[in-house]
Symmetry: C2
Amino acid sequence: MKEVIMRYPNGKVYQGQTNHLSTSSKGKTNFAKRGMKLEEMINQANQWYLLRDKAVIHKKPTPIQVVSVDYPKRSRATITEAYYRSASTTDYNGIYKGKYIDFEAKQTNLKTKFPLHNIHQHQIDHMTNCANHGGICFVLFLFKERDEAYVYPINALLKDWSAFLANEMTAIPLTRIQSKGYQANMGYQPRIDYLAAVDEMLAVND
Amino acid sequence: MKEVIMRYPNGKVYQGQTNHLSTSSKGKTNFAKRGMKLEEMINQANQWYLLRDKAVIHKKPTPIQVVSVDYPKRSRATITEAYYRSASTTDYNGIYKGKYIDFEAKQTNLKTKFPLHNIHQHQIDHMTNCANHGGICFVLFLFKERDEAYVYPINALLKDWSAFLANEMTAIPLTRIQSKGYQANMGYQPRIDYLAAVDEMLAVND
């Protein structure tokens, strides 16, 4: 299957399929689109925070392994062979209230639990490291069907992760996420006000 | 010119030419290689700091605009057309001593000055934003011919940048960098001990 990404009349290229979640099967391509949507929601919130000087948080670019590049004369370099790589960190980081902030965003179509196989060991390791150095670290869970999002602290996640590795748990129940996490308001501007939920989390921890 | 990047026997791909500094002219390709070398030096230092639990600092992936992707059966997605994009932030960020740290690394072959056209407005803006929020922000200058590196604080750079924009300055004299910056030791492990220079900078500012 060859997928050519559309160009808009303004010359900009549609980026919907450049997400690293994109895979070959149709079902997973749908999942990728939904993943992209979450990414857009967070990018929009980050832009909103930046313009209001509330925080400086950016998504890291998707890591891509470039194998072959063409350098046409009088035209910019064209990458002709490249592959998606897996990230060694999380997708988002920056500074908020003078503190380092670092998080991963994940979503599910399930209504009552979040499957842990969607989280990766290197993400856990990276957030643990950052939290040990004093960073604000969490996963932002989106329950798409419920249109509900939660800031879930790394400390709660670490307990679930241990249970997952011990084959005692495959998914975090929504009730636990509601109990240990902080719900983020879903609105128009910003679409996900996750920093308000982070404020609640910081207030509890202070 | 078509450039195929070599694969090592272990199957890993040499990344030397994937740097966004790569361009078409021979002179600039050399510059790119030198740029890569600086990147490797910093990545090595960051790995060294990470293993000693001193800091969690990573280089952000080079942003790439993917235009076309092949999804061959039973094989991973192959990007067949893509372009380098310019970054909206700096190349490096993370957490050090509980603080957000954010910097750009630049090098020159000149011996007595650093040309300001190698720095971009969006990098200045991003570091200014982060510094205003309490982050540690600087440019790490490498004078390759001298094998000397300096941590140069954003506040000093902002003055130079104003003079550059007013056409009053094209390059920062090395003497000014030595006076306002903090020299980083060049050794074996880490190759550039830039965090020791950051410590000096923080001690002065505290």
